[in-house]
């Protein structure tokens, strides 16, 4: 199945694009998408592992976890959850 990954600030800068399309096996989870993403873009590994601000993910409009399922056409959003400015 095909999904879209939306990389928020500052993650997208490691791959120089905000939206990435991934082809995943049916029944894939968020964790599988993250593995595929960092395999394709090793420059993302450092960003994803940074613990100062642990990123959060959403599948569509819902907050999700690594174990959350994905479906055909889903958009996975990876974002820094900050709010002070």
């Amino acid at each position: 199945m095909k999904i879209t990954v939306h990389l928020g600030e500052p993650l997208w800068r490691a791959v120089q694009q905000r939206y990435v399309e991934l082809e995943l096996p049916a029944g894939a989870l968020v964790a599988n998408a993250l593995e595929a993403l960092t395999r394709r873009y090793p420059t993302l590994v450092r960003e994803m592992e940074d613990q100062e601000v642990p990123w959060v993910c959403f599948v569509g409009d819902d907050q999700a976890e690594r174990a959350s399922p994905l479906s055909e056409g889903a958009t996975l959003h990876l974002l820094w959850p900050l709010s002070g400015g």
Partner: protein, 622 residues
């Protein structure tokens, strides 16, 4: 020691005196010292409730932070304080830029301005003197033009804090501006400045500030800068500024949209879109972050708050239009947060048929950029319907009774930031108890949004806290921790972007700040003493609010936050439960050591009153 100048614009009398050292140790500087003098001066004038915010007895206080102008990281800031014409209560606004460092180098850490000049003019600070100048040709100019004119008159190196047409016309949400966009924006203190016929304060700089131990301060600066520059949050702020905060709030469904009737908006306001209009990033005095955009439309910004409140909250999506509105409010000298909130309020009243064309002079349609642009200009010049909107929250008695139900304000201050707080209950509590009204910069526990382990939370806050972002219980002590920490930052003149707890657990905490105070000022304080100073300022502000007649009933939220569930995305269905909110308030008062009505213990009040005895500068006649 720091010097305070008392200036009476009515009589021309100027007194300059050193600030009592006992007060510096307790209130530090900036916001804390301003609050000390605000309470003292208002009480000397009689009942604070009866002081006219536009009258001669309302003190307008400019106070630099204790570290401002030194090489301490991000030590640029000052506070402007007075009785607020917008809230009729405690008015206080914090601002960056270069003005406060120049003010200190000119010989002053604080100005207390009383009276009213018969003619417009401005004050010049230079070599330890204060002088009044006629304001020929300045009155009526916008904030940038005024600063350019003052630079031409007084030479390079001149830094000014000014008002625009909004302040001159006593618009209750007028800001004090320095540079293109640095604003002491909240509470309408630009209007207080205008009421005194004071267009500007000009600081002519001077030699670098003397510090207690130059080598020690330099070492602290180097060590702390390394630490800060290793922070990913600092790196991202330096690259794109605060607009990056919009994207996640929007995805979560927590962006105030169309007066909080909706909770998400367009991706045209994401940081990556704003960045296309940025030609470089700028910094304030001694800053290691440089988060300010110079935009290609001739201004600076917009910040996250402005993007949300002049964009999503008004239904305006085109990036360029929102940047243009940002530049417009800065040039006119308006608070972007109040302006966006009040305009959205009016638009919803129009949408609901509560007001009509006979009052508004035309339709008020969401997303109508040209109409908004015209109204902003009308507000600043008090023309037509803009004259009513210029009253901000004080316009409520002139509108139908139901209008108040749709006003997003607390203690009559429109909410500062674009975050809809119905989901994060700690954010809601913070807004409800913030001393100046609905404002996130008094105590927002921003890290409550992060999935941090309990032990990390305990290490950062020093208190146990509930990690469930939507929980009510176990949040109050964490909010109180932020009260104190942010008060200390404001007293020292340090930007919150380098303060632990504001977006990152890795930034400067009490230990680093105490080292800076010892090195720069020679006052050795423990971490606990520093936090106690912050707590004293929070208590003082509480007492000021009580003397303005505020009560527990004022520590509340807009009606919509209680009654209307959030409509979409991950926050869907969330609102604030009134009963659980009141329990959270009980918990907060207990954490602060206040009684069930939010009053200070008698011993604490006596302590505050006794501290007034140390202020020799005021003298018996004041």
């Amino acid at each position: 020691m720091p010097n305070t100048a008392w200036v009476d614009l009515g009589t021309g009398r100027i007194e300059i005196a050193p600030t009592a050292p006992q007060l510096v140790r307790r209130f530090l500087g900036g916001r804390g010292m301003n609050m000390f003098y605000l309470r003292r001066t208002l009480r000397a004038a009689g009942d604070p409730r009866s002081v006219d915010p536009f009258g001669p007895h309302n003190p307008l206080i400019f106070g630099a932070g204790l570290l401002t102008g030194t090489i301490a990281p991000n030590a640029a800031r000052f506070n402007v304080s007075a009785k607020s014409p917008e809230t009729l209560g405690l008015g206080d606004a914090n601002c960056g830029g270069f003005f406060a460092a120049a003010m200190r180098q000119a010989g002053f850490d604080r100005l207390i301005i009383l009276g009213r000049s018969s003619q417009p003019g401005y004050l010049v600070l230079e070599d330890g003197t204060v002088a009044w100048r006629e304001g020929d040709g300045l009155w009526g100019t916008d904030t940038w033009r005024a600063q350019e004119e003052l630079r031409a008159r007084h030479g390079p190196g001149t830094v000014s804090a000014v008002i625009g047409p909004a302040g001159e016309n006593r618009v209750r949400m007028a800001a004090v501006i320095t540079g293109r966009k640095n604003a002491a924006a909240r509470g309408g203190l630009g209007a207080v400045m205008g009421s005194k016929n004071l267009k500007a304060i000009v600081a002519r700089g001077g030699p670098p500030l003397a510090v207690a131990d130059r080598g020690r301060l330099r070492k602290a600066r180097i060590d702390q800068t390394k630490k800060l520059q290793a922070s990913r949050v600092v790196q991202v702020l330096g690259r794109v500024g605060t607009p990056f905060l919009y994207e996640v709030s929007n995805r979560l469904g927590a962006i105030r949209t169309r007066n909080s009737q909706e909770n998400f908006f367009a991706e045209t306001l994401d940081a990556a879109e704003i960045e296309k209009y940025s030609d470089r990033m700028l910094a304030c005095t001694s800053c290691v972050v440089h988060c300010r955009h110079r935009n290609t439309l001739g201004g600076e910004g917009p910040e996250y708050s402005t993007i949300g409140l002049l964009g999503a909250n008004l239904g305006i999506a085109p990036t360029e239009q929102v940047i243009a509105l940002n530049n417009q409010v800065n040039d006119l000298g308006l608070d972007a947060s109040s302006t966006g909130t009040i305009l959205a309020w009016a638009m919803e009243l129009w949408q609901r048929g509560l007001i009509g064309e006979e009052l508004t002079g035309g339709p008020l349609v969401w997303g109508d950029y040209e109409r908004v642009r015209g109204l902003i200009d009308d507000i600043a010049h008090r023309r037509g319907f803009g004259d009513l909107l210029a009253e901000s929250t004080q316009a409520r008695p002139m509108l139908p009774d139901a209008a108040g139900d749709y006003l997003i304000a607390i203690k009559d201050l429109p909410q500062s930031d674009p975050h809809d707080v119905r989901y994060f209950k700690s954010f809601a509590l913070g807004l409800a108890v913030a001393s100046r009204g609905a404002d996130h910069l008094r105590n927002r526990p921003t890290l409550d949004i992060l999935p941090l382990p309990k032990e990390v939370r305990r290490a950062v806050f020093g208190v146990e806290s509930n990690p469930d972002p939507t929980g009510y219980e176990g949040k109050a002590a964490m909010v109180a921790w932020h009260d104190d920490m942010f008060a200390v930052a404001d007293c020292l003149g340090i930007c919150k972007f380098v303060i632990r707890g504001f977006n990152s657990p890795h930034l400067l905490g009490y230990a680093e700040l105490a080292e800076l105070v010892g090195a720069a000022v020679g006052i050795e304080m423990t971490e606990d003493e520093l936090r106690q100073a912050g707590g004293l300022v929070v208590d003082l502000e509480r007492q000021i609010n009580l003397e303005f007649g505020r009560t527990r009933a004022d520590d509340t939220l807009p009606k919509r936050y209680f009654d209307d569930p959030m409509p979409a995305r991950a926050t869907r269905g969330h609102r604030i439960d009134r009963v659980r909110f009141e329990a959270m308030l009980d918990e907060y008062y207990a954490a602060r050591g206040w009684d069930a009505e939010g009053r200070l213990p008698a011993a604490r009040l006596a302590e505050l009153n006794e501290l007034e005895m140390h202020d020799a500068a005021i003298g018996a006649e004041r």
